[in-house]
Subunit: 352 residues, 2 copies
């Protein structure tokens, strides 16, 4: 199916509108399709279903629903104000994305089981994933508008929507770490999931730099330092989930492992080539949805024996060192730089 | 409790940081508090609980949690790049809001029942309201950043975050229309709930105008036309939910009434002063959570007999006329203006 033929904007009757409006409408439809196809795969599937471009199994359909009424309103408003509707395409795309975000979330809240004559996305994919898919569309809306910012604010305007987009993709990758599959989980998948944490720490640092009018070298160093901090911290949190003090973490013990979630220590143990790793894989494959306390405790011991804990702690420290090196190699004011270093160490190592 | 004393930034030890950083940190904490307090009441309550400023019943607490680590990172990054951390306050506020959005949503998806040592917001307030509260924080983040846009893009940059903010408040007001209370539901509450629809239609029109470089008169006319269209359409949809053809609406018949949702026809009937209104009030008060089909059909007849349908249809048409009047009174290009009028009529009246 070509992008034009199945999408709603192609239904604009040419006799109703001049060529510029038709072209702008087609660009909106094409861009929307591109935004959805570019999402993290699981989110692309849910949003593709929601827009009516795919069935519940991900197969393309011909009945792309949605009349893009709001996009049409945006394009016509631009024309009515005397401009070529093409100038309003980013706005029209963003408005449709926000609209579909709200449909995905509101159907959950309203317990509406039908949308455009089909089961609503939450009925097919579950409430959690439909919520996240809505979040992804909202992030995409702001990603589309941010580059319109002019001058010195442009850099600051793009940081947060980009981070939000990556956080949401990270959360989706993170959810996929749960479940029975132990054979296809690799460290690079885990690092993508880390974006749920690291993308925002990167953005926190980068937006401060951008608003300060930092030069490129400073901005890059602060951005990367924030990213490395995020990965280091996420790994440390995942280690703590298994071996930490619940009084410090404020979370129930072993909550990840209880869900068969393959965080870095588990992945490193599974990939260790040691007998403990093979026994762990076997145990996780055989596990039911509600493993017993002794089972989960036994898994934790297997992960540690196969080197999963030590390896994860090593990698966390290595990212922390990278973060500090980034800061120290850049031209930054000394006092706040060293305060950042102390902050990083306090976060990851829980130094007081 | 003063804003400073109970909030996390006040815990920055003065000997650790110079006065500018402390002041900036306090501004972040104050602004966050102000953002949350300014939300629609039900959302303010949930977010206040989530941040640790209120207990589950809405009473102030002293244990404001959250270390504002990300805000600190943002402020220090600005300082490290050579600026006064004050320049980074809007960025720091936005980053903390995005962070807390993600906590609210991720706890639902991860089924994490504890957050900062207390029951997570979704455990206390339900998944739907916690999702919406997260959405509200995300909207607030973009509302905080949008005014930083410079020059001609500023107007376009603020439209969508503002609309998102109002849509979410509208959805919260809309959810409050369900349930057994029939004595405190007024038309102005319904109109606030209409913002779930009308805020985005207003924005769709306004953002097209803004991107087209419209003058103030054009922008105002297009914005108001979009708003009036939204109210008109929402009322028409609520009328259709009761008396419409499910083949056209694609939604199950009477889905609002089945949930005792007091949309405009119901409110007008209840407030009609007619005997049918009093009987309707009695019936709704006595209704269980799952009313029978004959009950719901009987309510629909009572609403119609008390003038609820006719009154709602009148108000929908009146808003539609206002929308058209707005367009016709402004200096707009004639062809797209008339096409907007046709689009409005097609949406509300389902004219082909």
């Amino acid at each position: 199916m070509s992008i034009q033929s199945g999408t709603p904007a192609a239904r604009v009757r040419p006799e109703d509108a001049p060529a510029a409006l038709v072209r702008a409408g087609q660009r909106v439809a094409t861009e929307l399709r591109g935004v959805v196809d570019g999402l993290e795969p699981q989110l692309a599937r849910i949003c593709g279903y929601h827009f009516g471009w795919r069935d519940a199994d991900g197969r393309p359909t011909d009945d792309g629903h949605g009349k893009l009424l709001r996009a049409r309103l945006t394009l016509l408003a631009a024309e009515a104000a005397g401009a070529d509707p093409a100038v309003a395409v980013p706005g029209a795309v963003a408005v449709e994305l926000v609209h579909n975000f709200s449909l995905l979330h509101d159907d959950i809240m309203d317990a509406d089981e039908l949308r455009r004559g089909r089961p609503a996305a939450w009925v097919v994919f579950g409430q959690g994933m439909a919520t996240l898919a809505g979040d992804a569309l909202l992030a995409a809306a702001f990603c589309r508008l941010a580059p319109l910012a002019a001058g010195p604010t442009r850099r600051a305007a793009t940081v947060l929507p980009d981070a939000l987009h990556r956080m949401i993709a990270g959360q989706s990758a993170d959810l996929a770490l749960e479940g029975p599959d132990v054979d296809h989980v690799e460290v690079d998948h885990y690092l993508r999931a880390c974006d749920k944490t690291s993308a925002l720490l990167e953005a926190a640092s980068a937006i401060g730099a951008a608003l300060a009018g930092a030069d490129e070298q400073q901005l890059t160093a602060l951005r990367r330092a924030g990213y490395c901090l995020g990965v280091s911290w996420q790994i440390a949190n995942d280690v703590e989930d298994i071996w930490g003090d619940t009084g410090v973490t404020g979370k129930p013990e072993l909550s990840d492992l209880r869900r068969s979630k393959k965080t870095l220590p588990v992945i490193l143990a599974l990939r260790s080539g040691q007998s403990g790793g093979a026994r762990l894989a076997e145990a996780l494959r055989a596990a039911g949805p509600q493993p017993s306390e002794p089972e989960v405790q036994q898994w934790a011991r297997l992960v540690e024996a196969a080197g999963g804990r030590a390896g994860a702690e090593r990698l966390s420290r290595s990212y922390l060192e990278d973060a500090v090196d980034q800061l120290r190699a850049a031209r930054l004011a000394a006092r706040p730089r060293e305060e950042l270093v102390r902050l990083f160490r306090r976060m990851v190592l829980r130094e007081s």
